[in-house]
Structures are given as C-alpha cells and as structure tokens.
C-alpha cells in the first residue's frame, strides 16, 4: 500500500480543469507527468506522443530521478515497434483491455494464456519483445490513450519507491487521465490545423489581390508596373515613418497598406477604355467619370469584411490635405493615413515615369515638386519620409 491514500476522483477533476485552462498540451502533459511522479511516488514517468509530421511516436516527456529519466525527444518508435503494435493491432489489443494497461508482471501470466499459446500470429514474440523493451524505458506499466480508436499517447510508469504494485483503481485513473490528455492533444492539433487553414486562405487572398491588381494594368497599358511600384514606395514611406517615429501605426497597418496599394486603382476596371487610354487631355465630363474610380474601387471591395482600412486607402487616395480632393473632400487628419501615403507614392510614381505625351521627371525634381505641396495637397509626414528615403538613396 502506498503511504498516502490519493483521492483519484479529485485528482482527475483537477487535471481536467487544467486541460481547459492550458492550451499548450505539451506543457500540460509535463505538469501532469511531474505530479504523477510526486504523488504516486514513482521513480519515473514518461509520455510517448504521436507525431503526425513524422507519422511515428516520440518519447516526448520524461520526469524522474537522474538516471531513470529518458532524454526528451531522443527516442522514436515507428509503427513496427512491438510496443506500438501491441496497442494498435487488433489481434493484440485484447491483451490489455481488461486492465486498461500493460503491466510487466502480467506479461508472464499472459504468455501462458490459452489464446496466446494457441494462436500463431506472433503474440508470444510481441510479448517477449515488449517485455524486453519496458526496462529500457524504465517502465513497469504502459497505459495507452486513444482518441477515436487512434493511439495518440502512451503513459509510461516506473517503479514505485516502496516497491508495491499498481492497484487496478490506480490503473483506471491513469487510463482516464491519459484519454483526457489524448483529447487535449487532439484538440490542439485541430486548432493548429485551423490556424494553418486560415493562413492558407490569407495567402490565397493576397494572391487573388495581386491578380486583381494585374487586371487593372491589362486594361491600361500606360500604367504598366505602376501598382507594383506604388505599393513598393508606399511601404517604404510607411517604414520610414515608423523608423523616425512620427506616426504610431496600428497593428496590421502594413498588411493593409500592401493590399490597398495593389488595389488602389481597381475601380478603373469600371471606367470606359476610351477614357482610360485617351492620349489627349480629358474633357471635364470625362474627368468626372475618371474620378469615380475611387468610389467604384471601394464598392468592388465592400463585400470584404475586416478590410475597412484597405478600402479606405482605395477610396481616399485622391483626397487632398487642404480639402480640395475627391470623392468626399476630406481634410487634414480626416484622411486615413493609409490613403495619405498612397497619394504621395502614387503622385511620385506618376511624375517619375514616362508617359506617351511626356518624359518622366528626374527623382530630385519630382521630390522637390511634391515637397512644395506638402501641407496643401499632401500630408507633410509621408512627404518628409519620401524625402528622407531619397536622401538615404533608398528610392
């Protein structure tokens, strides 16, 4: 008999509560294994966990006295390993079902069971191999944990300090505990899968955005490479502003700026080609139609939830700091920073690239022109950042 009687039901309840509170299953298992060693007074306890990446089992956690402990993450068990086969393969599983565990002192008895002697499927060999394995793992009992019939973990239990055996009540407790652990691992795995799925969706979204950005350029040959360059300049300007600390960017700003940059002219898809590619000066009516690309762009993107900042960038990139821009005539800080940055980047690119009717300006002239309009057409902060980038030779 162990010196202190443990209330197993209570222990199990507190462990289950831990499962809910702790989302990192490995940390949780570590805590559980440690408390088993202390409370049950054994020299070693460990946990073999299924590793889906390697499709094998790894001895991931081990706690106990020096010498009894097994280095964590050092030993792997493939599916052909006798210990795994014993717990996974149908013809052997019945051997452990009545005790919920494999106890080394039972193995001898098992070898003389009628069913083991008479069947020819290698049960005897498996039992012999497992019996030789357990001392190497410093275990006298192995408790399997399943989730929907899949073996997810094996709890290893070492010798008790006072040399007494495990009682069935204890093994049942360990089995319940191990299944809870398996459940926690499974949940964490699902959570990881969901996160990965969300990440995949995001990448897909960005790729779609890039393709969509490309669609604008296909319609308007003059702007070839324009969206990409504007996006590049806009990100550089924002990074410079962050570097000098003139503006406190909210989280996800850079991601939103990136997407908004790629899509800032998406509304041009709805502008007639005759206007879009016209070589002569636009008439006043035509110009009014051209101006609608900001609202059209915002409309195209409006079904996307969670992209309000991107949409603002698209919608307001032709607003003017002095309130003379479009579509809404916003003024000063009313204009979202994402749009104010794109406005500067957009103008800089338009000025420095060749058009059919004129050659592009040199960088220094373009920048000094833009600087003249700081505080008038443009927010002075991104203009200053653009100038700084130019000075550093990073444009």
């Amino acid at each position: 008999m162990s010196s202190v009687k443990i209330d197993y039901k209570k222990e199990l309840e507190s462990a289950s509560k831990g499962m809910i509170l702790i989302h990192d299953p490995k940390l949780l298992i570590k805590l559980i294994v440690r408390s088993i060693v202390q409370k049950v007074q054994i020299d070693h306890a460990g946990m073999i966990l299924y590793n889906p990446q390697k499709d094998s089992y790894v001895l991931a956690i081990s706690h106990g006295q020096s010498g009894a402990r097994i280095p964590e993450g050092f030993i792997r068990f493939d599916k052909k390993h006798p210990l795994i086969r014993l717990f996974v393969e149908k013809e052997y599983k019945y051997l452990v079902s009545n005790r919920n565990a494999l106890v080394s002192e039972d193995i001898n008895k098992m070898l003389w069971q009628e069913s083991v002697i008479s069947n020819g499927n290698g049960t005897k060999e498996i039992l012999h191999q497992v019996s030789a394995q357990m001392p190497k793992l410093n275990a006298i009992a192995c408790v399997p944990a399943y989730h929907q019939h899949k073996l997810l973990a094996i709890l290893l239990l070492g010798q008790r300090h006072d040399g007494t055996r495990f009682e069935q009540e204890e093994l049942d407790f360990f089995s319940a505990l191990a299944s809870d652990v398996a459940m926690a691992i499974q949940n964490a795995q699902l959570f990881d899968d969901l996160k990965r799925e969300a990440e995949r969706n995001r990448n897909l979204f960005i790729q779609t955005t890039i393709a969509l950005g490309g669609a604008i350029e296909a319609k308007d040959a003059y702007t070839h490479g324009h969206t990409e360059r504007v996006t590049k300049y806009a990100l550089a300007v924002a990074r410079q502003m962050e570097h000098t600390g003139v503006y406190n960017f909210p989280p996800k700003f850079f991601e939103n700026l990136y997407i908004a940059g790629l899509l800032h002219d998406i509304g041009k898809i709805g502008i007639p080609e005759a206007i879009l590619t016209k070589k002569d000066k636009l008439t006043l009516d035509e110009y009014e139609i051209m101006k609608t690309h900001t609202l059209r762009g915002a409309e195209i993107l409006s079904p996307l939830t969670g992209f309000e900042e991107c949409i603002a960038g698209v919608k307001y990139h032709h607003e003017s700091y002095d309130g003379r821009g479009y579509p809404e005539g916003l003024k000063g800080e009313q204009i979202p920073m994402v749009a104010a940055i794109i406005a500067v980047a957009d103008t800089y690119d338009a000025m420095t690239t060749d058009r059919s009717y004129r050659k592009g300006l040199s960088r220094d002239i373009a920048i000094s022109e833009i600087q003249k309009f700081a505080g008038k057409q443009f927010n002075p902060k991104p203009v200053q950042a653009l100038f700084e980038l130019f000075q550093k030779g990073e444009l």
Partner: protein, 119 residues
C-alpha cells in the same frame, strides 16, 4: 572491455545512453563538450565515439575535423537532430561509420553501436 565515448551537451542524453550501454557490458565515458571529448579520445583511445552535431562550444563536426587533422582515426557515429545534407556529406568524407537522426529508434542505435564496437 570495449570503450565507448558519448559526446553530448545534454546531460539527460549522456546519462541515459551511459546506463543503456553499461548494461550491455561496455565501458562508457561521457563528455559534455568538444574539448573534453578530444582529451578523452587522446587519453582513453575509445573504440567508438557517439558524437552530437550541435553543441555549444565546438560543434561535433569541428571535433571530427580536429581529430582527423591529428591523424586520429577513431570510429565515429554522428548524432543529429537536423537533416543537413551538407553536414552528412562532409562527415561521410571524414570517414564516419554512421549518421543517426534524433529522435532515434533505440534498437537501431543499439544495433549500430554493438556491431561497430565488436568489429
């Protein structure tokens, strides 16, 4: 008695492997780093060295290079947690008798160590 040297900066690995191979009648030495490993190799002339690739002060690959430079052709098995083909190729060229990846199958480690140490 055959001599085995285990070089690893993780104490749990040293202790576990030590007791594992001691039980198989092998005289086991351990070193927690490259410098200590080189000393033991020169003094004790082990029959086989289990050498961890990633260690803090000197890497296992550096230890191996220094050994070969000093004309020490002791048998070496590399143990590594990462699969870097460059390291595998270089250590092969330096004549290691095996390369084991962590996490490892215990029986495979046992097999290769026992067969190399008895040759």
């Amino acid at each position: 008695m055959s001599k085995l040297l285990i070089v690893d900066d993780e104490i749990d690995i040293r202790e576990f492997a030590k007791s594992f191979f001691k039980r198989r009648g092998i005289d086991v030495f351990t070193a927690s780093g490259g410098k200590q490993a080189l000393e033991i190799i020169f003094l004790e002339k082990p029959d086989l060295v289990l050498l961890d690739v990633r260690m803090e002060e000197i890497t296992g690959v550096d230890v191996l290079r220094q050994l070969r430079k000093a004309n020490q052709f002791v048998k070496v098995i590399m143990v590594s947690g990462i699969e870097d083909p460059e390291i595998i190729n270089e250590t092969k060229a330096l004549g290691v008798v095996g390369f084991i990846h962590k996490p490892l199958v215990l029986e495979e480690l046992e097999k290769i160590v026992m067969s190399e140490i008895k040759l």
